[in-house]
């Protein structure tokens, strides 16, 4: 009788120990799982933000290229190939007004929410604000710069004068 009691007590203690061990293992497992879930959701959040930034950057590139190759601005001479990295000052002066006039009807479809400026750094310091439509209450903006030469047909004596400047395209999201 006594021997049986001893055996039962020993077995119960062993069972209790095993249960505590199992609970401890499960507790650690769920802690690890929780860490994993938190890490995964943080990663997802960062990945989503990065994706948004990537999309904005892609839009910035697209808008910059569109602005650089706009027939309204690029240096052309009759039917000859247009000059790359060159904007015509005469066209710039005229286009500034045209873009303002047809901003919502036509140019918004091309550039969406953006600001496009052309800055001359040599020989003068002139600035042209071609397109200005910032997004109301924007959260992020992405500026892109491109250096261009500015051809002025009226400045040179025999040949046109080529100035130095840059195009700045800022997109908003």
């Amino acid at each position: 009788m006594r021997i049986n009691d001893m055996k039962n007590k020993k077995m119960t203690r062993k069972g209790q120990l095993q249960m505590t061990e199992t609970i401890a293992i499960l507790f650690i497992f769920f802690i690890l799982l929780l860490f994993g879930v938190i890490f995964y959701f943080r990663y997802q959040k960062i990945a989503f933000q990065e994706k948004q930034e990537e999309l904005l950057a892609a839009r910035a590139m697209e808008s910059t290229l569109k602005a650089l190759f706009m027939p309204e601005l690029i240096c052309s001479r009759g039917e000859a190939e247009p000059e790359d990295n060159c904007l015509d000052v005469l066209k710039l002066n005229a286009t500034q007004e045209t873009i303002q006039q047809y901003l919502d009807e036509y140019y918004f479809e091309i550039f969406s929410y953006a600001t496009i400026t052309v800055q001359e750094t040599y020989p003068e310091n002139k600035m042209w604000v071609l397109y200005d439509k910032p997004k109301p209450e924007f959260t992020r903006k992405e500026p892109t710069f491109f250096v261009v030469t500015l051809r002025d047909e009226l400045a040179g004596t025999e040949q046109p004068e080529y100035g130095f400047g840059y195009v700045s395209v800022t997109v908003y999201s």
């Binding site: 293992i25 690890l32 994993g36 890490f39 990663y43 930034e53 990537e54 950057a57 892609a58 910035a60 590139m61 000059e83 790359d84 990295n85 060159c86 750094t121 040599y122 020989p123 992405e142 892109t144 710069f145 491109f146 250096v147 261009v148 030469t149 400045a155 040179g156 004596t157 025999e158 040949q159 004068e161 080529y162 100035g163 130095f164 400047g165 840059y166």
Partner: protein, 188 residues
């Protein structure tokens, strides 16, 4: 008893496998972060900017305000007349073009004017956007000869080979003194 021991052993093996899988997943995440390449925009902008800057600089003509003295008519082009003049008369005190520098406000030798003009143009664009750059203009007199710098390289921040950098590519200009190769390196 033996069966009980086997089951326990199997369970321990499964636990080990779970731990290995968790570690592998963690390492995979870390590798994804570490091996992330530069965003497309950064590469596009740096490459495009280096090329467009060089292309624009080479096309730029010296303004009438610089009062360049020359026998030829019209405004001298940086990537043509000025570089050619500098390559030809780099060892002579006077050159054909004596233009007023944008910084010094004095009539300078074409090589000094070129150096000042490059510094002025790049400082107002790349410099104002906190970019590091290097401009080189080298004369290759004859094939196989060592290139000579016609002006001191314009270095801001510096773009050594080990740094992530993009080049504008070579902008060669054929002159009477030889071939002048101009290049611009851009890095962040």
């Amino acid at each position: 008893m033996k069966i009980k021991k086997d089951v326990r052993g199997q369970m321990e093996a499964v636990g080990l496998v779970v731990i290995v899988i968790l570690i592998a997943l963690g390492m995979l995440f870390m590798a994804t972060f570490a091996l992330k390449s530069d965003p497309q925009k950064k590469i596009f902008t740096r490459k495009g900017l280096a090329y467009s800057t060089m292309s624009a600089l080479m096309k730029t003509t010296v303004s009438e305000k610089a009062a360049c003295y020359s026998l030829s008519q019209g405004t001298p082009k940086i990537g043509g007349d000025v570089i050619e003049d500098c390559a030809k008369y780099r060892d002579v005190d006077t050159s054909i073009y004596q233009c007023i520098g944008p910084y010094s406000g004095k009539a300078l030798h074409s090589c000094d004017f070129l150096a000042e003009m490059v510094k002025y143009s790049l400082n107002n664009t790349l410099g104002s956007w906190n970019k590091n750059y290097e401009f080189h203009s080298q004369l290759i007199p004859f094939q196989g000869e060592e290139p000579i710098d016609i002006i001191q390289p314009v270095v801001v921040g510096g773009c050594p080979k080990w740094k992530e950098r993009d080049s504008s590519g070579l902008f060669p200009i054929n002159t009477e003194a030889g071939l002048v190769e101009n290049s611009l390196y851009l890095c962040d």
